[in-house]
Structure formats: C-alpha cells, structure tokens
C-alpha cells in the first residue's frame, strides 16, 4: 500500500507498524556490540576526529542499504517536501529501527536545515565518556546512516552532532542540512560507483 509521507501522525503510525513487525534484538547486546566496535576503533585509530569520520563512513554504508528496507516495509512513495522527509526520518525511521522516536525542530528560514532531537539513545545505554575522549561523537554512526539513506533517494545532506548527552547536554541533537537534490541520470551514478 503506497502512502504519501505526510503528517507527523502518519509517520508515527508507520513507524509503530514497522517496529511491531520487525525482528528485534536484545537492547543490551546491541549497546554492548556497538561499544565494543567503538572501543576497537579507538585502539586502531587513537585520533578522535579520525574515529568520528570512520563512524560516519560506517553509518553511510549502513544507510545506503537500510533505505531499501525502510521503503519496502513502510510502502512510502515520495515526500512532498523536505519537511515531510524530516518527519519521516524522525518518527518512522528512528522508530522502526531503533525503537525510539526523535523530535524534529530547529528549522531554518527556507526549510533546508533541521535538527533531530534524541532524548534517549539505545546505543549509549551504559556509556560514560572518559575525559580524554571528549571530542568523540559516540553515536556518529547515526549521522552516516541518515546521509547514506537520503543519498539513495536523491537528496544530498550533511549531518553532524551539535549536542550530545554523553557530553553533558540534556538531549542529543543532530543537525541535518540539505545540500542539493541530485538530479543526474542513472549513468552518472554508476560511473561514480
């Protein structure tokens, strides 16, 4: 059943439906696995900026594949505006795959940038950042996922964390900025691959 990505309510409902039908994994196992991953990256790279970049790249690889599953499970066709896209990511996407909803806010004047506010993040279940890794964006993989997924639907964005619960803020905030709508033909994309 194809539906338009519409209001917040539609997106929330979609998210709930998909979440209830998905195979679930133990939350603690998920958090611990991700923690082990970040730990290993720390040992391999040691430089916090390099790790942030790696996490984002890994997220990108996840995102380009995840979008297919998302579209298949929700049956959503195209969004009417970037605002709809944002709501769909926050309410349906996050809910379907992480089990938590995000809030959309912080729209700029021409609706090309918004913020996703995450109150609780299943990745950071037991985590406490030691002071020497202060610049690490522990959940940076999420930024990559968003970027990868949107790129597959012809939207190029830049995502970054501006606030993080692990750094002491009360919510985690991801800033998503629209860079361009990709309009090139298929041939170009294959060349770049």
């Amino acid at each position: 059943m194809a539906t338009r990505g519409g209001s917040v309510a539609t997106a929330s409902r979609l998210g709930e439906q998909v979440w209830s039908r998905m195979n679930k994994v133990n939350g603690e196992l998920f958090a611990l696995t991700y923690g082990a991953l970040v730990n290993q990256l720390l040992r391999d790279f040691e430089d916090v900026d390099a790790i942030n970049e790696q996490l984002e790249k890994m997220g990108y690889n996840i995102g380009v594949r995840l979008i297919d599953e998302f579209l298949a499970k929700t049956g959503v066709s195209s969004c009417e505006s970037f605002r709809d896209t944002a709501e769909l990511i926050a309410k349906a996407g996050f809910r379907a795959f992480l089990g938590v909803s995000a809030e959309v806010g912080g729209w700029n004047a021409d609706s090309t940038a918004f913020s996703l506010m995450l109150a609780d993040n299943p990745l950071t279940e037991f985590v406490e950042l030691p002071p020497q890794y202060r610049g690490l964006y522990y959940s940076n993989i999420l930024c990559g996922v968003i970027r990868g997924a949107l790129e597959m639907v012809q939207i190029r964005v830049e995502c970054r964390f501006v606030r993080d619960v692990l750094h002491g803020d009360d919510v985690s905030e991801i800033r998503v900025e629209l860079k361009e709508r990709i309009h090139d033909e298929m041939a170009d994309e294959y060349k770049e691959g």
Partner: protein, 158 residues
C-alpha cells in the same frame, strides 16, 4: 558515641564532633581485582594528624586478603561478613561472581548495613563494567561511580 576501651596505642584521633580523643572513625572501602586494587574510598573522618599510621588501612586490608580467600570457599553466599580483625579494626568482605573482592575496613558497623552497602556497590560495579570504555580488571576512575559509591556509603554506613 560510646567510648571504646583503650584505643590503638599512639593512634592520634580526629577531634571531630562527638569523638573523644584517641578514637578514630576509620571507614575505608576497597575494590580488589585479580591483580591489584581497582578502587579505594575513604569515608571516615580522616584527620590530618595521621602521619605514620596513615597507611595502616592498606596493611590491614592487604593482610585480610588471605582470610577472604579462605572464607569464600566455605560458603556459597557472596557476602562473607567479617573475615578478619586487627585490634579494633574489622574487615568485612563480599566476593562478586567474577572473583572481585569488595572489602570494608571499619570499627563496628552492623552486619546488615554493611551487607546492604555491598549489594548497592556490587550493582554499581556491574553497571560500570558494562561501560565500553572500561577495560576489564583496570582501575575505576569514573567520577560518577565515585559519587554513587560515596552516596551509598552515606546512606548505609552513616
């Protein structure tokens, strides 16, 4: 506070409220891992006049490790109650499933309150172990763990 008969000879006590001279309020908690201590906290009224006797708590706790090891095989419980005694210092112990010792050096806290304290700290310790940034069997430096342990001590041991 009831006065204890004959304190430790030559042990200067803090002249704090309610304590008579010669009396101390020794209360030291230590987490001992496989190879070395992982965490130490002093809850007692530490006095600045503890010079040469300021490390006595480390000696006593160290020497009690043998007793802990002996006692832990006699019971299947995690809480070992009092395992050792040095003059008027008592050492209570609690062994976690992973073989980590929680030791408390005190001068007369009730068994029950010490048990509750140990159980609380055990929970805090397990939660801390789940932090991906904590290497197994390494020293615990997290300030929030420190704060929570001190809060538990205030709740059960004071």
């Amino acid at each position: 506070r009831r006065a204890r008969p004959g304190g430790d000879g030559g042990f200067p006590g803090p002249a704090g409220a309610g304590l008579t001279v010669g009396e101390t309020n020794m209360l030291v908690f230590m987490i001992v891992g496989r190879a070395e201590p992982l965490y130490e906290a002093n809850f007692g009224a530490s006095s600045s006049s503890r010079d040469d006797s300021s490390y006595i708590h480390q000696f006593v706790l160290h020497s009690s490790l043998d007793m802990v090891e002996n006692t832990m095989w006699t019971t299947s419980a995690l809480y070992l109650r009092q395992v050792d005694r040095f003059n008027n210092f008592l050492v209570n112990a609690y062994v976690t499933a992973g073989g980590v010792y929680l030791l408390l050096l005190h001068e007369g806290k009730s068994d029950d309150s010490v048990r509750q304290f140990f159980q609380d700290v055990h929970e805090l310790y397990v939660k801390h172990l789940l932090n991906p940034f904590h290497q197994a069997d390494s020293a615990i430096v997290s300030p929030s763990f420190d704060a929570s342990v001190k809060a538990a001590a205030r709740k059960f041991l004071q």
